[in-house]
């Protein structure tokens, strides 16, 4: 084999990394708008799914347009509140939601709380609350839709980045999410309790319990924790809305 001088090796490496760097940054900048669009569409779709809309997304000819149209049609209002329930007028709910994963590291009192209001043809409102948390292996997130009484859950969707396949990953399955509908997040005394995810089976008569995933206990508990952590901050706002 030929031998190469140190200078050659140095120049070769320099040229190689330059070419690679230029190529990768070019591709990354070119594809970035598409990728960001995908993320936004996914979030809009999740919000819609929590209120039982956008089921036809898989069949839609142009998924992005379809989701954007549905979102504009059904999500009639959105705003941001702080921990004490004050309206944060300068904040955009969608922008806040995009950065929510970073926000949950702050103390609850300092976070922003986005709210999305769903309404079909001026009918009853539903309040969609985005939630974010940490699972066993990575982030988990979800969207909880509340009925107009701000207590009964009308639907919930959850998803995850990398929970154990077939175990914790099942939080994004219908059989796990459907039991959330009809549960209440406040107890009879009006205290916020969230939804308990019970290992070994929920008490069917309980209004605050759903089944955990067998073999996915840590993810299930993380999800319970996430709901409490992210929804506690809305309590002040909900109480205010209920009093008006």
């Amino acid at each position: 084999m030929r031998s190469f001088s140190n200078t050659y090796i140095f120049v070769f490496s320099l040229i190689m990394v330059t070419i690679v760097a230029v190529l990768l940054s070019f591709v990354a900048t070119q594809l970035k708008p598409l990728q960001e669009m995908n993320v936004q569409i996914e979030k809009k779709q999740d919000v819609l799914r929590s209120v039982g809309k956008a089921e036809d997304a898989a069949e839609a000819e142009d998924k992005n347009t379809y989701i954007n149209e549905e979102f504009a049609k059904y999500i009639t209002e959105s705003y941001v509140v702080d921990f004490d329930g004050n309206l944060m007028e300068q904040e955009d709910a969608f922008e806040v939601m995009l950065g929510l994963t970073a926000e949950i590291r702050l103390p609850r009192e300092e976070r922003n709380y986005p709210v999305f209001i769903y309404s079909e043809n001026g009918g009853p409102k539903k309040y969609v609350i985005p939630v974010r948390g940490k699972g066993l292996w990575g982030p988990i997130w979800g969207y909880v839709a509340l009925e107009e009484d701000l207590n009964t859950i009308s639907g919930a969707v959850f998803d995850h980045k990398g929970e154990t396949p077939g175990l914790g990953s099942d939080i994004n399955q219908d059989w796990f999410q459907e039991p959330f509908a009809g549960k209440t997040i406040f107890n009879e005394a009006g205290e916020f309790v969230g939804v308990e995810v019970v290992k070994g089976g929920a008490d069917p008569s309980s209004m605050h319990q759903v089944d955990a995933i067998a073999g996915g206990t840590i993810t299930s508990k993380a999800l319970e924790e996430m709901i409490i952590d992210c929804m506690t901050g809305y309590v002040a706002h909900f109480k205010e809305l209920a009093n008006n």
């Binding site: 070769f12 490496s13 690679v20 598409l34 990728q35 996914e42 396949p165 077939g166 073999g215």
Partner: protein, 214 residues
């Protein structure tokens, strides 16, 4: 070498393509790339996408290294190989994120882990550095296909027995469950992937006496 007139699909070249599928399979014979074979084979769909991604990365990296083979200083060849593989993997990952977002979400970290797939570096080091681009391309294609084939085979059994589904569609009839059939939860866990690979190796060696050592 008198390869001037060698046809593109000469028996020698075809062998490069077919051998990795059978008697020099990277997973069952060379026992390379086991790590990802254990990790992603719980479900069929991610396995198929990962297999395709590996085919792309491997074929292109093999050709790239083969084209550069006379220029690469031997002392830094491993680094050069890594840079080529990493570049390809990042490109595949970015393209998946932009055009097949749902699938890329399912695969999550595993696309990035193609970089550490021993088969790719093994082939670059053992074959592409010493051969012309066309044979290197076939070798890459063959080995990636051999890898992908085993991946899909393992995923098939694991999804079937572990979840009772194939490509997320229910295949084991509901009546079975009502009669007391239960999905094998063990199948979902990585150790069972190793057992399935072991069974495949056993079957293959039992059928092909050449492969039996000693």
């Amino acid at each position: 070498m008198s390869t001037e007139k060698e046809p593109l699909f000469s028996p020698k070249n075809l062998k490069l393509l077919s051998e990795p599928l059978g008697k020099s399979n990277p997973i069952t014979i060379q026992v390379l790339g086991i790590c990802s074979a254990l990790a992603v084979t719980v479900k069929l769909k991610p396995s198929i996408v990962l297999a395709l991604s590996v085919v792309v990365v491997m074929a292109v990296s093999n050709v790239a290294i083969s084209l550069l083979r006379k220029m690469v200083p031997p002392r830094i060849r491993i680094i050069v190989q890594l840079v080529v593989i990493a570049t390809m993997v990042i490109l595949v990952d970015q393209v998946l994120k932009a055009y097949a977002y749902d699938v890329s979400k399912q695969l999550s970290v595993f696309v990035g882990l193609i970089i550490t797939n021993c088969i790719i570096m093994g082939r670059l080091e053992a074959f592409a550095l010493a051969n012309k681009p066309w044979p290197a391309f076939l070798d890459g294609l063959g080995n990636a296909a051999g890898y992908g084939f085993i991946l899909i085979l393992v995923a098939f059994f694991r999804e079937l027995f572990g979840s009772g589904t194939l490509l997320d569609m229910q295949v084991i009839p509901q009546a079975f469950y009502e009669a007391g059939y239960v999905n094998n939860g063990m199948m979902i866990l990585p150790p069972m992937a190793l057992v399935v690979v072991g069974i495949i190796i056993w079957v293959q060696r039992a059928r092909n006496k050449d492969l039996i050592e000693d």
